[in-house]
């Protein structure tokens, strides 16, 4: 059976470590130059080096996005940057600009070059064009259907990477400069202001509307994607929180593993889907995989993009003798709340909060302060970086 890779986004070292801990096989990160998401913190070269050492010790991989569309003045420093990435020991760059692809090969770097989704690949002919330029992997456009993915694999025999979860663009990636016109921020150099989520007026329509799609999820189709030759399963979201990364990667790790050994049930799929949708606070659909999306796969009317308060805390320590878990609070919780714990090395379990202590071992009724240290007595064994969240869905009801 082919090797299947779960590929996570990481906006910084903390999120990178969390992604690996929760089951990612590889991460993609942005450096401080030449990367979309230009206004994120992104990784310095030192941090990229550290990320590679950390990943390689775990036999995992680091890919760096060098995916802006370069203007003349952005050519300055490109060669040196590509060489520096080689010195950091990265496993691949993700690029769309032909100059980046060719420069990397001219420099004879040790890393691979993957073609970014920004290049909008939907057919094998384009795949073969870039194969001749030396790319070893295609990150397909999010618009790729099952039929197209299968054919591209058959005709190119290149590694294929497909998005399986996260936000969608209204436009084909790389084919939108709405941001340039509405905000003067260059979307193909990382300045996308997500104009498709803004509101528009149209003659004859009373209420302002957006043209934004719902998110992508491929929960029910992972097995099919494996069968048609997808090598890497990519989660969107370099700007996302550690809770989001942990939740999404944890879920897809389970789905991929269960898909590979044919033990994934329809009920579990539904449960995982509810967890994922709740985490992002947005609906998600398989989008283009089987059919052209309709109005049902879009949001039209204005909606508040308010994140929920589900993430209650992160385990910092667990004493197996006393069964005391030290937890850093992330959202308000109190005595009587029914919560659940999840983590990379355990089955999710339910817990009723019956006593809370603060860091001075004083009993308190409520954990109300962000990042305050709390202590709970919990019989189930926990590990550092396990997470506590509001219990919304009961897995037993799905089985």
């Amino acid at each position: 059976m082919q090797k299947v890779e779960l590929l996570a986004p990481a906006g910084d070292l903390e999120r990178l470590k969390m992604a690996f801990l929760y089951g990612a096989d590889a991460v993609y990160i942005g450096g401080q130059e030449f990367s979309l998401r230009a206004n994120a913190k992104n990784f310095s070269l030192e941090e990229i080096k550290e990320a590679c050492s950390y990943a390689h010790a775990l036999h995992k991989k680091v890919y760096v996005t060098v995916n802006i569309v370069l203007h003349n003045k952005n050519l300055v420093g490109l060669k040196e940057y590509l060489k520096s990435l080689d010195a950091c020991g990265i496993d691949a760059i993700i690029a769309s600009d032909i100059t980046v692809i060719n420069e990397a090969h001219k420099l004879n770097v040790n890393y691979e070059v993957h073609l970014s989704t920004q290049a909008s690949t939907l057919n094998y002919g384009q795949g073969l064009f870039y194969k001749n330029l030396g790319v070893t992997r295609l990150v397909l456009a999010r618009e790729a259907s099952k039929k197209d993915i299968k054919r591209i694999k058959e005709e190119t025999n290149l590694e294929l990477e497909c998005f399986i979860h996260g936000a969608m663009c209204t436009s084909i990636s790389g084919k939108c400069v709405l941001s340039n016109y509405c905000t003067n921020r260059d979307s193909n150099r990382g300045g996308c202001a997500q104009i498709c989520r803004w509101l528009f007026d149209m003659d004859g329509v009373e209420e302002p509307f957006s043209i934004t799609p719902k998110d992508l999820n491929m929960v029910p189709y992972i097995k099919e994607m494996i069968d048609i030759g997808v090598n890497s399963f990519k989660v969107e979201g370099r700007m996302r929180s550690i809770y989001y990364i942990a939740t999404v990667i944890n879920v897809y790790r389970k789905i991929i593993d269960k898909s590979l050994n044919n033990t994934l049930t329809t009920g579990e799929c539904k449960y995982y889907l509810d967890i994922l949708n709740r985490c992002a606070n947005r609906d998600s659909t398989p989008q283009f995989f089987l059919n052209l999306p309709t109005n049902k796969e879009q949001y039209f009317l204005g909606r508040d993009e308010i994140s929920n308060q589900d993430f209650l805390g992160m385990v910092l320590d667990y004493d197996e003798n006393s069964h005391i878990a030290t937890i850093e609070q992330r959202n308000y919780f109190k005595i009587g709340d029914v919560v659940e714990f999840f983590g990379p090395n355990m089955e999710t379990f339910t817990y009723k909060v019956n006593k809370i202590k603060n860091e001075n071992d004083e009993e308190i009724e409520v954990a109300r302060h962000p990042k305050m240290i709390t202590k709970l007595k919990i019989d189930n064994i926990l590990h550092k970086y396990d997470m506590m969240r509001i219990k919304v869905f009961d897995k037993d009801n799905y089985l």
Partner: protein
């Protein structure tokens, strides 16, 4: 200079009149392989020795269909302007003897990438997302003549979704095409044009790049007169000859004098 225009055909009826005022190169949006146009043309409607325009991002099935069409009409075509490199793959596979012009929308923003691209193509369309200064630097440093977008509606988004149809379904209203939408904060207006292959949003104002006519190292100047009347199109040719736009239509100079921000920290 009029003989260097590469003029997108939106209305076949006007071609003879345009020829009379000197236009020689016509670019026909190819039926089933273009988005953003109300009128597209099959090979039997396209004049011999014309250019064809293929601006769709193609799926495999479309690529197969295109291969057959190109092969069947190989002697009719003077040149192909395309976005998707799958088209170049076909041109090479079929050994077509045509002028190849890569118009990878929103790419073509620096001289080095254009030069790389020119190794595989006869010409490349320079992006409209850059400044005049950047265009001038590109023209100095490219190794073959390139194409410049001179005038017309500029596509600013291309979605595979049928956004207008979806909208009408959602709100249970009749489907309209060529719809103007206003972004409420920036007050920008966009014209949305849909066909079965997707939706293109055009910046409402016509791009006026007539001052670029003075530049050298240009193979063709692209003109997209979408939604202009016949009379306005003839006037446009006269304006191009005079290098000054007098047509009474909403227009601007795009990013010729307005550099986009790469990182917010530059916005100081």
């Amino acid at each position: 200079m009029i003989n260097k225009l590469l003029y997108i055909v939106n209305n076949k009826e006007i071609i003879e009149d345009l020829k009379k005022v000197g236009v020689k190169n016509f670019l026909f949006p190819l039926k089933d392989f273009c988005v953003g146009f109300n009128n597209t043309y099959d090979f039997d409607e396209i004049e011999n020795e014309s250019f064809i325009f293929i601006n769709r991002i193609l799926d495999n099935e479309s690529l197969d269909l295109l291969e057959k069409k190109l092969n069947d009409n190989r002697d009719k075509i003077k040149g192909i302007v395309y976005d998707d490199f799958g088209v170049l793959y076909l041109i090479n596979k079929l050994k077509l003897n045509v002028i190849t012009i890569n118009y990878q929308n929103h790419f073509g923003t620096n001289y080095q990438s254009i030069n790389e691209n020119l190794k595989y193509n006869d010409s490349v369309v320079v992006s409209t997302d850059i400044t005049k200064k950047e265009i001038e630097e590109i023209l100095k440093k490219v190794e073959k003549e390139v194409c410049i977008f001179l005038f017309g509606l500029i596509p600013v988004m291309y979605s595979r979704r049928t956004l207008l149809t979806n909208f009408s379904k959602e709100f249970n209203i009749p489907t309209k095409n060529n719809v103007l939408i206003d972004e409420k904060i920036s007050k920008n207006k966009f014209i949305m044009v849909e066909n079965e292959f997707g939706t293109v949003g055009y910046q409402r104002n016509y791009y006026d790049g007539l001052e670029l006519l003075n530049l050298e190292n240009i193979k063709y100047f692209l003109v997209n007169p979408l939604f202009l009347s016949d009379k306005e199109q003839i006037q446009l040719i006269s304006d191009i000859k005079n290098k000054k736009l007098t047509l009474n239509i909403p227009n601007d100079k795009g990013f010729l004098y307005k550099e986009t921000i790469y990182k917010l920290k530059e916005d100081k």
